[in-house]
Structure formats: C-alpha cells, structure tokens
Amino acid sequence: MAVIRQRAQVFNQPIGVVRASSGGVQVGEAISRFADNITQMTYEVAAEEAQTRGIDAAKAVEVAGLRTFNPETGKPEAFEAPKGFGRIAAQSYQSVVDRRFEASMEDELRMKAQEIAQKYPYDANGYEKVMSDYLGAMSENAQGKYKTFIAENGGKFLASTKLNIQARAAERARAQLAQSIVNGLDKAADMAYESALAGGFIATGDAEFSESGDIAAREVANVANGVSSGLLKGGADVKARTQVNTAIARGGVEHIIGQTSSSADRNAVELAIRTRGREMSSVPVELRPKVKALIGYIEPANIETVLTHSGKVSDDYNAVERDNILAMQAQAEAEARRNAMMFDQNVDGYSNLSNQLAVAGFDRQEQNVLTANLSGSNILLQELQGNLSQRFMNNSITQAEYDSSLQEARRGMLRPYLIEAAAQGNIEELRVAAITRNPADMANLTPKQREFVYAMHESQLFEPMEDTGFVREVLAANVNSIRDQRENQVTQFNLAQEVTALGEEAALGEITDAQFDAMRQKIAAETGRSLTATQAQSELDRLNKHRAFGMINLGASGMTSDSLNRLSTFIQTQGEKTDGMTPEEVALGQGILAKTTPENTNDITGRIDSLRVKVDREEQQRKAEITKQQDINRITAGGGNTNMPADRKLAQEILDGLGVKVNDPSSEKNAEVISLLKTVQPQGMIDDFNRLASGLPVQGAEVMLNHFARLASDPTGVGVSINRFGDALDAQTVEFLNDVNNIRTTIGGNPQEIALTLIERRDDPKSKIAMDKLFGKGTPTSFIVNRIGDPFVAAELAPAVEYLARTGKSADQINARIDAIVDTKYAKSKFIADPRRPLGTLKRSRFSLEATIPNEEDRSAFLTAVESQLPSGYSLFAGSNSTLDYSDLSENKDRQVFLVPDEATAGVRYLAYYVDDANELDALIIKKNGQLVHPMFDMDEIANFRKERVAREREQYTQEARDAEAKVNERREYRRLSKEIGMGRY
C-alpha cells in the first residue's frame, strides 16, 4: 500500500464581515425626530402666541403714539415694533400698526381737509389750493407706500370736500340774498319803529304817506320781489307788511303814550286803539289826530301785539309816574315838614303851608309835581287832624269844634289849589270837571288842571259830601277876583319864603337887628292886604323863634352839658329857676325869653336839650381822649404793661404815630423804641410773632427776630435775664421762635423758611415717635414737674416742652430750655416774696421788679419811694438784702420788708410784708392818719420820676442829635472851604 500522505485539508477561510449595529444611529435619529416634533409643536404654539401678542401690542398703542410724522424729519412714518419682539410678533404688530397708521393718516387727512374747509367754508378754489399745497408737501416728504397713500386718499378728500364747499357756497349765496331781504325788512321795521317813535307815522302837509308809511311801502315791495324770484316763500310780503305796520304802530303808540300826562290819558288812548278809533271821546283833544294816524297801522293781525306793547309802555310810564309821584311826594313831604317846623301848627299855619305847596305845584313844570304837592298838603292835613283828635280826646275841644276846625283847615288848604287851577283859565269847564271828573268834560282842560282834578279826588283835601259847594263857590268867582286872590296867595307865598330864609339865617345867629326890623316892617305893610293880622303875627313869631334858636347856638357854644341843663330849666320855668347858674347864663336865658313867647318854650328847650346831648357826647369823647392821652403818657414813660391788650394797642398807636415800623432795621437803633418794647410790645409785633410761629409770611422777619432775641431774654443790671413778653406770647411760641433764632444764628437761612421747616417737623407724624421716646408713658407736664416740681408752671410750659420734644430735642436740651424759661420768666428777685411760690420758692416771681420795671433808674426810684414810706425799723434793705454786717448789733437790726405782688386789672401792685421773729412773712400794718393801713405800692410811685426821666432822656437824645448834626454840618463846611481854596483831597 502506498504511503498515505496527510495533506492539508483545513484552511483558514474568510469568515465574512459582521456589520456593526446601527442602533445608536437609530436612537439618535429617534431623539432628533422626537425633539423635532416638539420643536415644531412649540413653534406652532409660539407662532400663534407671537401673532396674538403682536396684534395685541399694536392695538394697545395709543393713537397719540402712532406718530404720523417724525418730529425730526417731518416725514410720515409708522411706529416701530417694540424691542424684543420676534419676527412673527413684529410682523403682526407692524401689520396692525400699519393699518392703524394708515387709518390715522386718513383721519389726519380728513381732519386737515375739514380744517381747511372750515377756513374756506365757501371758497372752493381757496380750499383746493391750500389742500393741494398741503398734500403736495406731505407727499413730498413721504416715501414708498405712504406717498401713494397720501396722494390717493388726499385726492379723494380734496375732491369730495371741494364739491361740498361748492354746493354750500351756492346755497349760502341764495340764503344770504334771502337773509339780506329779511334783514332789510327787519332794518326797515326798526327804522319805521324809530320813525314812528319820533312821530313820523303822521303824514305832514299834503303828503299822501307819512315817513313811516313810505318806509313800509318800499320794504314790502322789496319783499314781494323776493317772493317772485323764489328766494322767499309765498306770503312773505303779507307778513312783511304786518311786520312793518306793527313796528310803526308800536313806535306810534309809544310816541302817543309819551305825550300823555296821566294814566287816565293812557287808558283813553288804549281804548281808542282797542276800538280801532270808534271810541275817541276820552282821548285828550291834542292827541286825537295822532291816534287817528296810528289807527291806520292797526290791523287784526297786530292789534293784540300793539295793545300788549302799549300796555307795557303804559306800565312803564305808570311806574315812572308812580315813582315820580312818590319821589315828588317825598320831596313835598320833606318840604312840608321843614316848613311845618317854621310855621305854627294851627289852621292858619297849615293854610299858609298849603298855599306854598299849591303855588309851587302849579308853578313848576315837572310832571306830577302838583300831585305830589297835593299829597304833601294831604300829609299836613293828616297831622293837623291828628292834633285835633288828640285835643278832642283830651276834651280840649268839642266834637263840633273838631269838625269845624277840620273843615276850616281842609278848605283853607284846598283853596290855594283851586285859585291856582282857576288862574289857568277854562273856569267854567273846570268847575264842572272838578266835580264830575268826566273825561269828556276834562278834554279841554290844561294838563295841570286835569292833574289837579285827579289828584284832588285822590286826596283828603276834598270831601265830596261837604266840599262840593265850596269848590263850586270858589270857582264861581269872576276872573278878576280869582286873579286878585292868586296875587295875594303869591305874595303870601313869597313873604313866607323870605321869612323862612331869614329864620334859617337867624337860627344860625347870623342876622342883625336891622334885618329883623326890615322884615317886621315888610310884614306890617302886608297886614290887612295879603296877610291877616293873625297871619302877620304868626310870621313874626316864627322869625322870633328862630332868632332865639340863633341865640342858643351862639350863646351855648362853649357851655358844658350841666350849664345847658340849667339853661333849659331856666327857660322851661320862664326864668324862675336859676340854681347854680352864672350871671352870664342867666343873661343868656333872659335874652332868649325876651325873643320868644310861652307857646314856643317847648321848641326852645327842645333845641337846648338836643344841644346838651351833643355837648355831653363831646364831653364824653374828650374825657376818653384825655384818658387815652394819659395812658399814652404812662406807656411812653415806661409804665406800660404788656400783659394788657389795651396797652399793646396803644403802644402800636404810639409807634404808628411816630412812623416807626418795628420790622424796619432802623427800629433796632432807636433807643426810645427799644425802651418802649421792654415794657410793652405793640400788638402788631405780637401778631407778627404769632404769624411767624404759624408759618405765615411776615415782613422784615429778620429784624423781628432780632427784637425777639433781645426781648425774650433781656439781661438786667443785677444779673437776671427777663422775658419781656410776659403773657403776651405763650411759652410754646417763645420756644419756637427761640429755635428759629438759634438756627438762623448758627446755620443761617431765611427765618420764614426755618419756621416752616420747624412746623413741618413738629407736625410730622414721626414727631410723635420722638415725643413718645422721650416721655415714655409720661407727659410733657410730668416731665416738667420732674424737673422743676411746680405743677402750675409745668402746665404753663407743657406746650413748649411738647414742641421741643417733637422737634427732636434731647432730655438734656429740654431741661436746659426749661431752666432758661424759668429764669427769664420767674426770675429771682431780691425784694419780692411771691406767696404763690412758683417753683417752690418765695424768691421767684413773674413780678420781679426787674420784670415789671425794666429801667434801672426807675427801679431804684421805686425802691427809694417804697423805702421812704416804710415805718422806722422796717427796711427793704435789711436781712438778706443788707449790705452791712449786723452780727454784733443784732438788737438794732431793722426788720426786712418784702414786696408781695398783687396782680390787678391795671397791672401789678405790691403789698408790704415783713419777716417776723418766727422768720415768717407777716403783713406790715401801719397807722396812717389815725387809720390802720396795709401799705401798697404801684407804678404811680414813680410816675413823676418817669416823666422827668423821659423828658431828660428825650432832651439828651435831642441834644445828641443836634450835636451829631452840627458835626456833620461842620464837616460839610470844612469840605466846602477846602474845595474853595483848592486843598485837593478833602
């Protein structure tokens, strides 16, 4: 067997390639797809959101924010999207804003079109030009789509508005034409009214138409043309005629009413109009042609209008008539009363008065004066009737006497009017009309006569039942008799007027005996002619009475009220009572009695009494002035009391009188002013301090604060500082102003501003925290009590301490301020013992002599005066006030006297007390003029000293001023001479 050889049968073969897994790729791709989905979804949501946000934001932009024009470039531009917006939001935003912007521009174009159209409401060409210019300018500045937008929309507005303007202009032209006709009609109506008012409604001469009628015809024709041309509605010409006729009738009726003299005349005119001329009998004759002319313009369409107008005009005239009558009546009444004082109050006197009123009533031409004067006579008659009634009630007269006196007076007062009325003529008609008052009967009377008839029937001067016969009888006289009677009346009137005028002069003591005699002769000459003997005597008595008044006026000047009282009694007793009268007074009384009659006594004494009242009032005023002057002297001499408001007001008056203003810097250099301020501060100054402390503006606050600082702590020669404001400024105000002053002097600044700042701090709610922190559970009062122990003073200072706490002061600072207040307000005083023991010691007092007597000289004088009045063995300068050592002479020691303040209404006074053996205060009672008295001292002790000191100081000031002036003059002279001789510098 052949050898079997092993052959290689197994070989390594390719095993193929195992492909790596693609799972990682798939995972990544899956993540990516997942994330892409999320992204897509969120994108879609966010896109919607962004779109909404953009739209919302764009809508939220205010119209004012959609700037249509860039203020810098002047070009229209849309609003930019806000920063931070995405594209979608920005696009949405921009899209909306663009739309809004375009709308805004459209509005603007429309507005501009309207604005320009308003400027050229009827000028289409003017509008087109201006609007085109505007659009051109706008378009020129604009870019892109805005340019097109402006051109398109602007053109649209321009065209449509231009058409409107053209249509409006055409309409207006027609309306103007129509209005022109209407205006012309109105104007013509006004002209016709004015013409008629001036009487132009009455045709003059042979003219067919009156002036007013011409106007009416012309204008009605004009309106008719307007109707035919279609400018006015049909029928306008008829209305126009009525309108113009109405205007003429209104003017005409006013014209006629204006010529009536009474409401009766006016009623007659209205009746004539109402009946369209059928009833004219009551219309005064002189008015009838005018009323007839007026009737021509009255038609059914305007009669009510004309009558209404007539009624209103008549009302006006009636009201004026009434007012006029009332005014005249008041005047007549005043005149009657004035005359009544001059005339005797009897029948003759009243007849005389009525005569004066009657003559004047017929003589004066003013309307209604006669009615008024008759009313004046009526008042006099009522007064007389009152007097008669009084006498009848007193049984001084019988009923028959009363009736006959009243009738006599009535007829006596009516007669002058009847005579005056008859003197005007138409006596027959007057006699009838005076009784009947028939308008037809009165048609021919004069206006004065008609007025008299109406007024007589209205008055009580005419009693128809009793006086009809009397009136007929007076008016039955012939013309000559009437004329004579009237002349007598006029003479009486003139004489009475002269006596009245002379009496008024006599009442002033300004007539001579010659004047009196001349008048007496004149009266005597008329006696038996125009005057009866009684009337003549009455006029003389009247004059005499006024001479007596004159004597009183002259003789009583300078008499006291007591003297006048005695004089009145003397006259009243017809010279019997002369108690207390001087010979001069008796002589005056007798002179007065010689010039009057017993009937006039009451008038004379009444005059004296009224004078006495006046003198008494003057005396009172003088007394008050003297008292005031004394007070002024006291205050200027340093005796003022600043706690008294009256003194502060007077101090203000003193300074005002001197022209001193305490807020002026010059006041700080005026020694007299400073001296006055130390005793009493003018009220204006106190008011200013209070204003400053309230934060209100004060003029010259710097100067005022300087004064404050000086007075709030005024050092005296004895080392005590005094608060000179006393009670005039409360502690809180003082502390506040102290703060203002301290800040001003340390930090500087305007006092007013400092005060305001402090007030703000004080009133700030946080200030309470500062206060609570300081006081804890305590109060300002308890805080002060802890410091000084006196609850009364503590209560007084509490507001000040509260203020200090609120403004952030520490406890130490406040304590220091309390001490300062106490030291300046309750100063220790050597000679005073205050039993109220403020601050627990007798030695402190608000009434230390340093406080009440600021001037050292005065203080020394006061002590000297007190000391000199103390009995032997008692002295102010003993004991603790002694400057001597009595230790070895104890048995010779004087007892120490203290002054105990006693606050009175007029200031403080001091009572003397001494220190007894038990070292207690005891009242010092001494014997004076046999009586036990408790010595009391006040500022009167040094009143004379003060006067002398002030006079001395004033002289000193004057001398110093003179010296200073002399020095200045000397220097001026020296300069002048130096200049003259060429000394160069001088």
Partner: protein, 150 residues
C-alpha cells in the same frame, strides 16, 4: 413667548441636535467597526491564500516526490530523462501558476478588503459630518423658529 414654550422650543431643538450628533457619532463608530471587520476578513483571506499556496506547494512537493519515486521505480532517469524533466517542469509551471494565481487572488482580495474598509470608514466619517451639518441645521432652524416666534 411663554417661558415654558420658549424652554420647550429651545430644549427640544437642543435635544434634536444632541440626537443627530449622537446618530452621527454612532454611524461613525459602526463604520469603524465594519471597516475593522472588513480588514480582518481581508487578512483572513490572505492567510487562507497563503495556507492554500503552502498546501499547494506541499501537494506539489509530495506529488513530485511521488512522481520521482514512481519514475525512479519505473526506471526512469530522473536527471536525464527528458520526459520526466519535461513532466516535472510542467508540474513546476503549473504549481507556479497556481501559486501565482493564489497570491494574486489573495492580493486582490486584500486590496478589495482594504478598499471596503476605507470606504466604510469614509461612510462613517461622512455620516458623522452629515450629522454635524444636520445638527447645525437643526440648531439654526430651532433658533430661527425661536426668533420667529419669540
């Protein structure tokens, strides 16, 4: 934009980027692995060819030995017998050709494997690069959308 929406949008974009980058990286790594496998396969083919060539040589030598023995046994002068020589030469030529073919084949397959590995690597890198671009695109797209919709 609502904060949650914004966070979701940006977060998902980031996540997508991350996913794409991850996929790219995974593709690259897979390609590297595939290339390695291909190269290994190529090396194995080479080793097989060498083994088969050696086996072919062994077979030839064995056959030559047998043939020489047979010829010798047949009494043929191996050194001078031309026929034997020619036969042997022919045998040698055939073996040479086989060996040559085997080498060529092996070379070719090796080359093919290397080319395949290189191609695989290139594909991996391309996938990676593509993932980068894709991620960048996604990030850009995400930010763009965010900007759009913020």
């Amino acid at each position: 934009m609502e904060p949650i929406t914004a966070a979701l949008m940006l977060g998902s974009t980031g996540l997508s980027v991350f996913g794409q980058l991850s996929a790219g990286q995974a593709a690259k790594e897979a390609s590297e692995l595939n290339a390695f496998g291909i190269e290994t396969e190529a090396e194995l083919g080479k080793a097989q060819a060498m083994q088969m060539a050696q086996a072919r040589m062994d077979e030839y030598e064995s056959a030559s030995s047998a043939n020489l023995a047979s010829f010798a046994a047949a009494g043929r002068d191996i050194g001078s017998d031309r026929s034997v020589k020619a036969f042997m030469e022919k045998q040698k030529e055939i073996i040479g050709k086989d060996i040559g073919r085997m080498g060529t084949q092996s070379q070719m397959e090796l080359m093919k494997g290397r080319q395949q590995a290189a191609a695989e690597r290139t594909a991996g890198r391309a996938a990676r690069t593509a993932s980068l671009f894709s991620a960048a695109s996604t990030a850009t797209s995400g930010l763009y959308k965010y900007q759009q919709a913020k």
